[in-house]
Each structure stands twice: as structure tokens, then as C-alpha cells.
Amino acid sequence: MLGMLQRLGATGLEVAAAFGRAGVLCWQSLWGLPDWRNGPALLLRQLYFVGVFSLVIIMVSGVLIGMVLALQGYTVLVRFGAEAALGQLVSLTLLRELGPVVAALLFAGRAGSALTAEIGLMKATEQLSAMEMIGVDPMRRVIRPRLWAGIISMPILAQVFNMVAIYGAVAVGVYWLGVDPGSFWSNMQKVVEFREDVLNGVIKAFAFGIVVTWIAVFEGYDAEPTSEGISVATTRTVVFSSLAVLAMDFLLTAVMFGVD
């Protein structure tokens, strides 16, 4: 009994310490003047690896999710003779919820795990210590460009996801199931508000980008420098960032679209 209590306390302290280390990591990597000489090139490289490489999976899943949404929405709406409302159903679902959330989950699986593994391996092979030895700050050199790349890429990826998914829905709804394209688009435009729906989706994606990249980078930096440690850290990145995205999505939805 006492042992259990002791373990509980130890776990609690460990969690608190991990949060503290994550905060310190964020502070150390983002604080300070930007490095104009090397910074842009490093950031560009990371944008390439984090953003551009995630594009294919985001676009393919976007098309598929749009198609599924259209098909499911159609089968329900057609019963009420309201299949013309398919456009607003699909676009609101995507812009408000599915776009940012699914893009963030895919991003965590595709880019977050890669970031963790890369930084964890750098730590395990003592590349980070070597950088410190030659007077290069690994926080600025390694962590900062990756954090920024994730934060910048995520909203872009989410918007691309939305766009592609809407076209997937058009392909199924309009060209296959025969919803009138005019009412599809005009119903959508009538209901969707730029500030309320589109911009709130961008804000969501931005918040998810911060959380996912932060967790990924921290888990990599905090990993035990063994092969097992890296595998644990990679798993933790995907699990924690997925949970964090879903929990934050609920909070953000309550704030943005909740009953006032």
C-alpha cells in the first residue's frame, strides 16, 4: 500500500519534471535573436522534410476522407430529399473539425515520429554533445528550425487537406451521385463564414502544429540514448500528440463554437 503510494508520487513528480523540461526546451530553443546567417537555410531544409514530405499522405487521405464524407452524407440526406445540402455538410465538417484534426494526427504519425527518431538518434550517437563541444548550440541549430518548420507547415497542410477533401466530395457527390453542382456550391457558400469557420480552422491547425511538434521535439531530445529508448520515445510522440490534439480540439471547439 505504502509502496503503491510511493510509486504514484514518483510518477507524479516525473510527469511534473517532464513538463518542466519541455518548457525549458521551448524557452531555450526559441529565446534569443534569430540567426540570420544560417537560420533561413536550416529552416528551409526542415520545411522540406517536415512539410513537403507530409504532403502526399495528407493529400491522399484528404481525397479519401472527402469521398467517404460525401458518400455517407448523401445516403442520409437523400432520404429527406435534402441532398443539395451535401456541400454545407461536407465543408462545415471538414473546416471546423476533420480537416485540422485528421491532418494533425497524420502529421504526428508522419512527421512527428520522424522528428523524434532523428533527434533521439542524434542524442544517442552523441552528435548533440559533439555540437556543444565545438561551440554550436544544439537548441538553436537542431531544435529551433524543426519547431518552426512544424508550426509553419501544419496550417498549410490542414488547408491543403480541406481543399483536396472538398474536391474529393465534389467528385463523389456531383460527378458520381449526381448532386446538382450549382446547389452544392451555393449551399456551401451560403453557410460557411470566412472568419467563423475558415479562420477558426486555421487557428486550430496552428495550435495543433505547436503541440505536435513540441511533443515530438521534446520526446526526441529527452529520449534515453539507447535504441530501445528511441523506440519508446517515438511511440510516446505518436500517442501523446494524438491525445493532445484530440483533447485540445475539444477545448478549442468549446471556445470557438460553443454555446455562448
Binding site: 520545411l47 513537403v52 435534402a82 465543408s91 473546416l95 498549410i156 488547408q159 481543399m163 457558400q189 475558415v198
Partner: protein, 154 residues
């Protein structure tokens, strides 16, 4: 050096794709047109016995054409009637003081909107004006109730 250039181009294309996606969502999906966002409006009020499902941002139409939207609905504590505030486009300056505001439904289950029919008076409604003649929303349940009770009598 060549490789660095390729990365630059690809990342640039990635960023542009993001901007294009946002522009697409803004224009094609949300139907945002820059001119309508800052359109000048003036405000009118109308009192109804029952607004039923009318909400903020419901449309205001004249002859079926959207000329404004509802900005607020609250209850007047003295008369206990619903007061609907509406913002009407500045260029719609032909609403006479004897205009009639009615709450109507688009389709059987559609959204509710305020329909204004213009009257024949020479005076026009100005900013802050009140539409006196109103027709409350048709509540489907009430109609069905009347219909059923009439059926009983026959």
C-alpha cells in the same frame, strides 16, 4: 548547391500551395467577396409577437433578394414582444414607413428569414427606424393544432 536550390523551389511551391488552398477556401467555399465585407449598412427595428426560429445573421430579403441580415433579437420588457434589429444595405433606401416585415420560412424545413414588402408611403425609413406592420412567424405546430381541432368539430 543545386540540391539547395531544389529544396528552395519545392518549399516555395509548398507555401504557395498553402496560400492557394486558403484562397480557395475563402472565395469558393465561404463565398467571401471583399466588397461585401465592408458594405455600409443602416439599422432598422421591427417588433414581432413570435420570432420562432429566427436567429442572429438570418437573412433579410426584399422581393426574395438578400438586402441585409439580423443583428440581434431581444425581448421588450414592457410590451413583451420580440424586437429584431436588422442591418440593411445603405443602397436599399426605398423602404417606406408603411413597409411590412414578415418572418417566413424558405421551404418547409428551411431557415427562417425576414421578408420586407415595400408599401406606398412617400416617407422612407431612416437609420434606427421602426417597421410598424409585422407578421409573426408561422408556427407549424400551431397550424397543425388548429387543423386537427377543426377536424374534430366536423
Amino acid at each position: 548547391m543545386k540540391r539547395q536550390r531544389n529544396i528552395e523551389i519545392t518549399v516555395g511551391a509548398f507555401m504557395l500551395l498553402g496560400i492557394c488552398a486558403l484562397a480557395f477556401l475563402a472565395i469558393q467555399v465561404s463565398g467571401l467577396s471583399l466588397s461585401s465585407a465592408h458594405r455600409d449598412t443602416y439599422h432598422l427595428k421591427a417588433r414581432f409577437n413570435n420570432v420562432a426560429g429566427l436567429t442572429n445573421r438570418s437573412q433579410v430579403k426584399v422581393a426574395g433578394v438578400v438586402v441585409g441580415y439580423v443583428t440581434g433579437i431581444h425581448i421588450d420588457p414592457v410590451t413583451v414582444r420580440a424586437v429584431v434589429d436588422m442591418a440593411i444595405d445603405k443602397d436599399v433606401d426605398y423602404l417606406t414607413t408603411d413597409s411590412i416585415a414578415a418572418i417566413k420560412t424558405s421551404g418547409v424545413l428551411g431557415e427562417q428569414y425576414v421578408s420586407i414588402s415595400v408599401g406606398g408611403e412617400p416617407d422612407m425609413l431612416a437609420d434606427g427606424g421602426v417597421i410598424r406592420d409585422t407578421q409573426s412567424a408561422l408556427v407549424l405546430e400551431d397550424l397543425i393544432g388548429k387543423f386537427v381541432s377543426n377536424m374534430g368539430k366536423n
